[in-house]
Symmetry: C2
Subunit: 421 residues, 2 copies
């Protein structure tokens, strides 16, 4: 499988509130969401409607996956009155059963996501025992039957001096905002990427507040088309669609996809050196940890050993998982691990899977120094203490940096349950 | 999302060769594959053909995802001569480029997977620096244009006294065989489950030795159909298919899907009790750890805290990842963790997401005793030391058992990097 894209460093506020709440746990960038997803309420249309219309509710807009923001360091939200012309007074007026029964593939329903409740804001919104300010995301990409309403909404936001921030290189949001952005982006991308059913090839319908896609058994499109051309006879029944296996029970195809990946700091057998690799497109002297996708029916520990061997020839023994990082480009879960070479397994061979331009063993001291003076984002300059020719590494918001910090701080030695080989 | 299915216990040989090679690392059932996947060789048709035809090569057959076996404790493999009538003399005669250019959606190509090389068997098979006995898997489910050849192959295997073992309740394979079975089943299921492109709705083609599906730009079906009805004019060009976003770069839709799930042993704030839950359909007194799917843009640690709160109301602080288990029904990666309650967070509330019939706090001593006398598979009786009414738990091959074993053995205390709250 292709190399997963390396996390781009972002804002230094990585530890977020989690570091205060949960001791020394490393909370990587894009995690640490302030929202309670209350996922079990996503089918409750009375809850969703109340949340949608509450004055404290925030809507994060995306145009082609670019979020609305003041600038790249600050997301901007709009309110229900802003989005009402696009989504209508009540997009939850029908039950999911009715939405499925009345499905019409020619009608564009703007993709709306319920993200969760920010319980730190006692805004007056309450539903049973649940409370907090509701957050939604909405795809305003102009398309289909809602193209002109979406364009109008985009114009209105631009007239307020706001922008849809493109790309991801310059995303430098505070960690809690980054987590909200990541959740919204991942789910909008998944919906946009999967308009058809992989089981039968027919168009699908978004339900569960944007977290499920279902393959309806009928399509009213034929009925609508007949009406449109002025048929005066009784309307024919909706067209039955071909059978689909996803309608016969629970199918993972109906749920969002997340691709597990491994990313690992690798120690020599004597724990004195660290394996680093680089891709050709990176700036000079820039290295990082190795990474790759987990394959079907592989444990994380096996995937770490396989990827390290395939990319560098190095043979690992024990593997310990350190922390994880969601990565919404488009849907990765980065599982960070520390691996250690078997004695004699350090020889580098780049020709199994030639994805890396180079890999090399670096002394613990050099890694420590680079963590102090040589870190930056891929597109950024190194800090003031950096001297040309020195090792460069990803910044603190990348899990690679956290893994390297952990191994230079003696992470493996502290794991007495996973003894040194 | 729905509750992931609980791992079924299987054969007690769980530690496999990994426990010897890598110290105390917990290698869960379905991991510990003896095969080197050499994933970078999957596009090399000369390698695949040589591997296919080598006398040491093993083919694992599946009929509707049921593997060929002597009995539920022993897989049985066939050789190239057995499968040749179904797959032909050389299924790798065309390059992938040619296969895509000549794609014809009306022709059924039996799904063939290259699984890897068993390097412990010096069988004489060599390719550059790679060696070992090759393993393939083949879907022999009778269908499409190869229905009768597939039926013949099934008949031949049955005449040898072999069977296609249905279901998974009675799978009790030695761990290395279970890992091979898991890899094959997961990939065959993924291919069978995704015959259409989720991006555009058109049928897809298997490439990369069964580990990728691509959306071809043309379909020769129209050409073939014209020829079939005896057209004597020059053949028309293959039908151009509508544009598809997956052809414009790397798309995760083309690669196998693995759904990350969390499963966690939960300790009270004072580490003296363990939280266990049960589903209604389980036998009396049978409990296990809680589990659930990781959501988009969620770290594993966040998913653990969310799922525990949603299912039981219990509020967790720190979370430490313990080990992982591939689970091929259909494509889960179980990420096993240990979580600890925040002080005062132990109150149980089952009504957020009512998936559990019950959840309760159990003393460390009771869990220890149940791990000794009360473990079994869901469909099995408890062991001889069990007394009616005592706690029952999953057996050693389930990661839930490994997590409970770890917490009763002081796993968290050993994690000095993740201090007690």
């Amino acid at each position: 499988m292709p190399q997963p894209e390396l996390p781009e460093p972002a804002h230094p506020e990585v530890d977020s509130m989690l570091s205060r709440k949960f001791g020394k746990e490393v909370a990587n960038y894009f995690s640490g969401s302030p929202l309670n997803r209350v996922s079990f309420l996503r089918t409750d249309h009375s809850f969703l409607l109340a949340a949608l219309k509450h004055p404290s509710t925030s809507f994060l807009l995306f145009d082609n996956l670019s979020p609305l923001a003041k600038d790249p360091t600050q997301l901007e939200y709009v309110n229900f009155d802003d989005v009402k012309p696009l989504i209508g007074e009540n997009p939850y007026s029908k039950s999911e059963e009715a939405m499925i029964a009345e499905y019409n593939s020619t009608i564009t329903i703007p993709q709306l996501l319920f993200l969760g409740l920010d319980e730190s804001k006692r805004s007056g919104f309450e539903h049973n025992i649940y409370y907090g300010s509701p957050y939604f995301a909405l795809d305003v990409t102009p398309k289909g039957s809602v193209k002109s309403e979406a364009e109008k909404l985009i114009e209105i936001t631009k007239s307020r001096g706001l922008q849809f921030v493109e790309g991801r290189m310059h995303m430098s949001l505070p960690a809690p905002q980054a987590a909200i952005y990541a959740q919204a982006r991942a789910l909008l991308d998944w919906n946009a990427r999967n308009p058809f059913c992989a089981g039968c090839g027919q168009p699908t319908l978004s339900i569960n507040a944007g977290t499920k896609r279902t393959c309806p058994p009928k399509d009213m499109a034929s009925v609508t088309n007949r009406s449109a051309i002025g048929s005066t006879t009784a309307e024919p029944p909706a067209k039955e669609r071909p059978d689909c296996v996803t309608r016969k029970g629970i199918s993972n195809l109906c749920f969002p996809r997340t691709d597990p990946t491994v990313i690992m700091a690798v120690l020599s057998a004597d724990s004195e050196r660290v394996l680093l690799g680089r891709q050709k497109r990176w700036p000079p002297y820039w290295y990082s940890t190795l990474a790759g996708f987990v394959e079907p029916a592989e444990s994380v520990e096996e995937a770490v050993r396989r990827e390290v061997w395939e990319e560098s020839g190095v043979k690992l023994g024990r593997v310990v998982i350190h922390s994880t990082q969601p990565w919404p480009y488009p849907a990765n879960l980065m599982i960070g691990a520390i691996g250690q070479c078997v004695p004699g397994g350090e020889e580098i061979h780049l020709k199994h899977d030639p994805e890396l331009e180079n890999a090399k063993w670096v002394s613990m001291a050099e890694v420590k120094e680079a963590l102090e003076v040589g870190t930056s984002g891929l597109g950024e300059d190194a800090g003031p203490g950096y001297k040309e020719g020195g090792l460069r590494l990803p910044s603190r918001t990348a899990i690679a940096n956290q893994l390297l910090t952990a191994v230079t701080g003696g992470f493996l030695e502290e794991h007495s349950h996973a003894p040194k080989m």
